[in-house]
Symmetry: C2
Subunit: 207 residues, 2 copies
DNA sequence: GTCTATAACGAGATAGAC
DNA sequence: GTCTATCTCGTTATAGAC
C-alpha cells in the first residue's frame, strides 16, 4: 500500500553540515517562529560563523524552504507508517494525535502551524511549500475518516474532507494554546476528545 | 446579569492619538504578528514620525501590552452582550463562532492566537496579559456549556472546562489554517461543525 | 504632541583569504 | 567549507528643538 501522495516540491540534498544547521534552525523556528531567530542564533549554537551558514543556505528564504520540505518528508513518512500499520481507523487517528503530542512534549509548536501564523511575512516559495504540508495532512485524514466510516467504526455528519480540516485545525490550535500554558496535557485532552467525538453512538443523549 | 469576570490587569487610558496608533498596530499585529511590524510601519500609515509614537507608548512592549488589554476589553464586552442576550446556549455558542468569523473575514488572525504563536519571544508582561485572555474565553465557554447541558440542549462527554478548551483551540487553529488558504469559508465550516458536535443525539449511528 | 537627528544595535548578505 | 572583515539596511529608542 503506497500512501506517499505529494512529496514536497524539492527534497533538500542532505549533507551532514546542512543537516545540523536544519536541526538547529528547526528547533528555533518551532519555538520562536521563523522571524524569531537569526543566522547569528544558529551560528552560536553550532560554534560556526554566520558566513559559513550562507554557504549551505544562500538566503534565509532558502533555509526556510528546506526546513518545510524536510519536515514535510519526515511527517509524510510517519503518516505512511501509520497508514500501513496495524489497527482500525480510530487507532490510526489516535496515532496521528500522538505525532502532534510528541512535538509539544518537546516544548515545540508544529513547524507548519507556527509558519501558518507568520504566513503573511513568509517568502512566496515558503508559502507554497506550507500549503503542500496542510494539503497532505488533509488528504491523509480524509482517507482515514472515510475508511473508518465505511467500516462503521467512525461517525460524523459532514464530508470526510471537512472533518479532516476540522481535525487539523483543532490539533494545531490546541498546540498553540497549550504552549501558552506550557501544558502538554491540555493538548492531549483536546486531541483525545476530538477523536472521541467520532464515536458511533448507539445510546441516546450521551451526556 | 453581570458577566464581566476578569478584566485585563490595566485598561489603557485612551486618547484619540493613542487609539489611532493602537488601531494600526492591531491590524499589523493580526496580519503580520507582533514581531512582523515596526514603529516605522505604524508611523508610515499614520503619516507621523516614529519618535511621536514613542511619546504615546514608551516601548514596543508597552504598545503590545496595551494592544492585548484593549482587545481583551472589547472581546469581553462582546461576550457579555452575547451572554446577556437572547437565545439558548447553542445559539450563544454560534454567536461566539461569529465573533471569530468576523475577524477572519477582515483578513486577520485573532490577535491573541497570533501572539500565542510568538509566545516565547514576547515580553513577560505581554505573556501574562495573553493568558488572561484565554482564561476569560475558557471561563465564558464553560458557563455556556454547563448551562446548555443542564438544559438538555447540549451533549458532550468530558467536563465543560475541557470542552471549552477544545473549542477555543479548534477555533484558533481553524483560523490559523484558513488564513493560509485565504478562505474564511474553511473557518466557518469548522466552527459550525464543532458546535454541531454538541448536538444531543437521539437516533443511533449518526453517519 | 510632534518634529529632526542620531545613537546603538542586530539583521541578512557578500568578498575574498585560508 | 569555514574563516575575517565589511556592507547596508532596518530596528528600538533617546535627546532636545519647536
Amino acid at each position: 500500500m503506497q500512501t506517499q501522495v505529494s512529496p514536497p516540491a524539492e527534497a533538500p540534498r542532505s549533507t551532514p553540515a546542512a543537516d545540523k544547521i536544519l536541526d538547529v534552525a528547526e528547533q528555533l523556528a518551532q519555538t520562536r517562529g521563523f522571524n524569531g531567530f537569526s543566522y547569528a542564533d544558529i551560528a552560536a549554537k553550532l560554534n560556526v560563523t554566520k558566513a559559513s551558514l550562507h554557504y549551505h543556505f544562500r538566503s534565509k528564504a532558502d533555509l526556510g524552504r528546506a526546513l518545510i520540505a524536510r519536515y514535510h518528508v519526515v511527517f509524510e513518512r510517519a503518516l505512511a507508517a501509520i497508514a500501513d500499520g496495524p489497527g482500525d481507523a480510530r487507532a490510526k487517528l489516535l496515532r496521528y494525535v500522538d505525532l502532534y503530542y510528541d512535538v509539544i512534549v518537546s516544548d515545540r509548536m508544529c513547524l507548519c502551524g507556527m509558519l501558518a501564523a507568520e504566513y503573511a511575512t513568509l517568502p512566496v516559495p515558503m508559502q507554497a511549500e506550507l500549503r503542500l504540508f496542510f494539503d497532505a495532512n488533509e488528504r491523509w485524514l480524509t482517507v482515514r475518516l472515510d475508511e473508518g466510516r465505511r467500516a462503521g467504526k467512525l461517525a460524523f455528519r459532514e464530508p470526510a474532507k471537512e472533518r479532516a480540516r476540522l481535525l487539523v485545525g483543532a490539533l494545531e490550535g490546541a498546540m498553540l494554546v497549550a504552549r501558552v500554558y506550557g501544558d502538554g496535557g491540555r493538548f492531549r485532552a483536546a486531541g483525545l476528545a476530538a477523536i472521541a467525538d467520532l464515536h458511533v453512538r448507539r445510546a441516546s443523549n450521551v451526556a
